[in-house]
């Protein structure tokens, strides 16, 4: 082969190799961030329940980021997978086994199966058809859960779930300490997996599909297979979030399948910025803190402020926010370089 005869300058090969391994390495900021999340129980002992909600929303947002941020697939019905996971985990705990981890696995598999089956619906079409189809699937599930109230409890929700202790050792306490550490661990493990997957050749091909499907297929990427794969994985992630929700609150209501879940989730991912894995997590923190603050003031009309946020964000707030971020990053870099000799 001709390629084998081509020998590049060793310095160039070296540079490329170093670039690749540098990219995979953990940044200081990342380590600090996860360190803080682990230290949170000591810093905010009274905020465990809220932190647990944040961790679950972050996992849910991470799931949407995988398809929206990396593969460019828009969805207005991501709650379908959250709901599937929540009901699967709830029903499993109620009827089969109260062990949290087994329930988590069952829920993940159920949501992944649903994701796999519905992934074929998002293969074709424009953004608009995808938005409609995903919305339709979520609405279908909502109607189903509502109709089969003998199984799901209908509008009353799935009641009477009682979870066993985590790993047989740690019972879920009222302060939410076990709940938070459990949710955080699941989030962290799944985040690690996502980080690795998105840095793999597979992750690279997803970005190619998002950027330019025409070129991606001319490069040898079998687009449909990749979309089925990432959609299934994302559904599994959302299912895990649903399971955590069901298990830590010991309750599942129809609310998990509501439209506003999917719409709010979009906002969460967009606030933090799609396509870099931390966007969903940061968005989840901001969203929950904001929600907590606003609903203290006006519990009933919280949706109004969410709506306003969306409108302002799209009308130009996003540019301003990202501009602000870029500017503060530049200022920081300047200060650091000034300090250097």
């Amino acid at each position: 082969m001709t390629m084998a005869l081509d020998t590049p300058r060793p310095a160039l090969t070296d540079l490329v190799g170093k670039t690749l391994s540098r990219r995979r390495r953990w940044k200081l900021g990342e380590v600090v961030f996860w360190g803080l999340t682990a230290a949170a129980p000591f810093m905010l002992p009274r905020g465990m329940l809220l932190l647990n909600e944040v961790a679950i929303l972050a996992l849910f947002a991470l799931s949407l980021d995988l398809i929206l941020g990396f593969a460019g697939i828009v969805s207005l019905g991501h709650a379908a997978f959250l709901g599937a996971g929540a009901y699967a985990a709830g029903l499993f705990a109620l009827h089969v086994n109260a062990d949290p981890l087994t329930g988590l696995v069952v829920a993940v598999l159920a949501a992944a199966l649903l994701g796999f089956l519905t992934s074929f619906l998002v293969l074709r079409g424009t953004d608009l058809t995808r938005l409609m189809v995903t919305l339709g699937v979520a609405l279908l599930l909502f109607e189903l859960a509502n109709s089969f109230s003998t199984i799901t409890g209908g509008a009353d929700g799935l009641q009477g779930i009682s979870m066993g202790p985590l790993l047989g050792l740690f019972p879920f306490d009222l302060q939410g300490r076990t709940a938070y550490l459990y949710s955080l661990s699941v989030l962290f493990v799944l985040f690690l997996a996502a980080r690795r997957m998105m840095a793999s050749p597979f992750g690279l091909s997803l970005r190619a599909i998002r950027d330019n499907p025409l070129r991606a297929s001319a490069t040898g990427v079998a687009i449909n297979g990749r979309i089925v794969m990432v959609y299934t994985i994302a559904a599994a992630y959302a299912g895990a979030a649903g399971a955590l929700m069901a298990q830590t609150t010991q309750f599942v209501s129809l609310d998990v399948l509501e439209f506003h879940r999917s719409a709010d989730l979009m906002l969460v991912v967009i606030i933090g910025g799609a396509g870099w894995l931390y966007g969903g997590i940061i968005g989840a923190i901001l969203f929950k803190v904001l929600q907590d603050a606003i609903s203290l003031a006006t519990p009933q009309y919280w949706q109004f402020w969410i709506g306003l946020l969306l409108v302002v964000f799209v009308l130009g707030g996003r540019e301003i926010l990202h501009d602000l971020l870029a500017r503060s990053r530049a200022a920081l870099a300047k200060r650091i370089s000034r300090r250097a000799p």
Binding site: V74, L76, F120, L121, R124, G125, T126, D127, L128, T129, L131, M132, V133, L135, G136, V137, L139, L140, E143, L144, N146, S147, F259, H260, A263, M266, L267, I270, Q300, Y301, W302, Q303, F304, I306, G307, L308, L309, L310, V311, F313, V314, L315
Partner: protein, 284 residues
């Protein structure tokens, strides 16, 4: 059986009038406005408020149910909607969902969350029999108005100067401007009329669909189904789709009530999967 068919037709016709504005903005102008139902709700509340607080007769409220949302539509189009035309569908979706959330909360705050009821005038109440089929007076009234509006709409779009200018503006803004068409005004006017029609539909629908602050969310999906399933290249597609949905929904809720809206959503997902461009789309 035939009564159900009749009710389905009335429901479908009403859906078409409600969604016709969306059929134009989404179908022709390619702008996703999920807040379309908010204009319908505005029309509904105009009628309710006029009737309850000022004792205006039902029929006399209808022009206002058209004009008020149309005016709101025109103002919003000029101010916040216009910058959205050039953005991605995702942005348009987020933006208009935001509007829906705001409107739902605001109306809840002002009007309260309860279902609004109106008293129809006596001549629109009850039903009469034709060959043993029970026909609701009010539904006949709705069908009559909708038929007139549909014909007028089709006439305006296809036969008038305004219609041809709109189609030119949609096809290619640059060329239309070059031909002396004031694209901005055409779009504003179209948007206003679409909002007005939605408002009128909302007013007519208070009796049939109910009215509370969650109206835009509840029916958002129905309007979208009408347009996306109907296909976006003409008004005939959405019209047929609306009738189909009306009949299927009424019949479904009558014969298999436990399934709720399941049938409609299943229908939509199936159609969009098999024909992403819609049921009646003509290949261009």
């Amino acid at each position: 059986m035939l009564t159900i068919l009749f009710d389905g037709v009335a429901y479908g016709m009403l859906l078409f009038i409600l969604a016709s504005g969306l059929a134009v903005t989404l179908g022709l102008m390619n702008f996703v406005n999920l807040a379309h139902g908010a204009f319908a709700m505005a029309g509904g509340y105009v009628t309710v408020v006029l009737m309850q607080r000022y004792d205006v007769p039902f029929v006399a409220t209808l022009p206002f149910a058209f004009l008020v949302p149309a005016a709101i539509g025109a103002v919003l189009e000029r101010t916040i909607y216009r910058p959205m035309y050039a953005k991605s569908h995702l942005d348009q979706v987020l933006f208009s969902i935001g509007l829906v959330f705001m409107v739902v909360a605001a109306v809840d705050y002002v009007m309260g969350s309860q279902q609004q009821l109106i008293r129809l005038p006596a001549w629109l109440q009850g039903r009469f029999d034709i060959a043993g089929i029970g026909i609701g007076r009010y539904r006949s009234f709705v069908i009559a108005i909708c038929i007139v509006l549909t014909i007028a709409l089709q006439y305006v779009l296809v036969r008038t100067r305004f219609g041809s200018r709109l189609r030119a503006a949609v096809d290619d803004q640059q060329v239309a401007r070059g031909l002396g068409v004031n694209v901005g005004v055409i779009f504003s006017l179209t948007f206003a009329v679409g909002s007005g029609l939605a408002g009128l539909g909302g007013a007519l629908g208070v009796e049939m669909l109910g009215l509370d602050p969650t109206f835009p969310l509840k029916f958002m999906i129905y309007f979208l189904i009408v347009v996306t399933v109907g296909g976006r290249s003409s008004l005939i597609g959405p019209f047929t789709a609306a009738l189909l949905i009306g009949i299927v929904d009424v019949a479904g809720k009558y014969y298999v009530p436990q399934l709720g809206a399941f049938l409609i959503y299943a229908l939509m997902v199936a159609v969009l999967f098999l024909r992403p461009q819609g049921l009646f789309a003509v290949a261009r």
